[in-house]
């Protein structure tokens, strides 16, 4: 077990409220954000988070750290959310790559590549330029652009990029959480990242 995880687990088992609050502030936002991908309202998502924590409390005595604490909490959360979504009669088919995500073009507007009549078909006609200073990319405005681009994605792409890139969860855990294959996960991640890059490129211009 990671030493940090071990300390936290022992503190929770001992009923240490400060340790619980710290852990909850660390993972609570991730849990809420992820729960919202499975259920229809914020109120239900909050209930899912609460039920998941109760699952964490009840399971902590048996936690053996085959995974990190974060991964273990994430699994409890997604299992709780899936059960709740089923009960609501709402289950999102995250596996569907096309519908209901709708038709998806390539990663880049085809117009930006040279056509078949050109000397180098398929090569850049309008190549991407280097992005300017890092300060712009790090600005609150750029963060807003990324946030808005993710919010506009179809549900499955949004779920994958949120879990992988925003919350930094492992691909394997994301596949299990969404009941999708690794290939499927990569396709969804690719589409999602491509669109967010596109939005950032427009902003960085």
């Amino acid at each position: 077990m990671q030493p940090e995880d071990r300390r936290v687990v022992e503190a929770l088992r001992a009923g240490d409220e400060a340790a619980f609050m710290k852990l909850m502030r660390e993972y609570g936002p991730m849990m809420l954000r992820v729960a919202l991908m499975y259920v229809s309202t914020r109120a239900v998502a909050e209930e899912v988070v609460q039920d998941a924590w109760i699952g964490v409390f009840n399971g902590i005595g048996r936690f053996e750290a085959r995974s990190s604490l974060k991964t273990w909490i994430f699994r409890i959360l997604t299992n709780t959310a899936k059960t709740r979504a089923q009960r609501e009669g709402r289950s999102i088919p995250f596996s569907s790559i096309t519908s209901p995500d709708g038709e998806d073009g390539g990663a880049v507007d085809p117009e930006r590549f040279l056509g078949s009549g050109e000397r180098f078909p398929g090569h850049w006609g309008t190549p991407p330029r280097r992005w300017g200073p890092d300060e712009r990319l790090l600005s609150a405005e750029a963060q807003g652009v990324v946030d808005a681009a993710i919010a506009k994605l179809p549900p499955a792409q949004q779920a994958v990029i949120t879990m992988r890139d925003v919350e930094d969860l492992d691909p394997e855990d994301v596949c299990n959480a969404l009941d999708i294959t690794e290939t499927n996960q990569r396709v969804l991640l690719h589409r999602a990242r491509s669109k967010v890059r596109q939005a950032l490129e427009e902003y960085m211009r």
Partner: protein, 82 residues
């Protein structure tokens, strides 16, 4: 996808995620890297994709609302005293 030895830029942009995820065959990794050597456009593209991943990772997720924090703390107390 069956690829010719030489990739076009249009093909490369579709391989970028598999490349970053280490999901390409060694031969395709070679093709991608050979292409990158002479293509500034694709080098910039790959850099932008990396920067995009990093930007998503910097997003601040909103805090747990105070009422929910209260409820969770109560649940923790109930559990630890039980």
């Amino acid at each position: 996808m069956r690829l010719d030895r030489e990739l076009t830029c249009a093909q490369l942009v579709e391989l970028v995620t598999d490349y970053l995820e280490d999901a390409l065959s060694p031969e395709d990794v070679e093709r991608v890297e050979e292409h990158l050597v002479f293509c500034d456009g694709c080098t910039n593209y790959l850099e932008q994709m990396r920067a995009t991943v990093a930007a998503s990772g910097r997003l601040r997720t909103e805090d747990v609302p105070p009422e929910l924090q209260e409820r969770l703390l109560t649940a923790f107390r109930d559990w630890s005293r039980a």
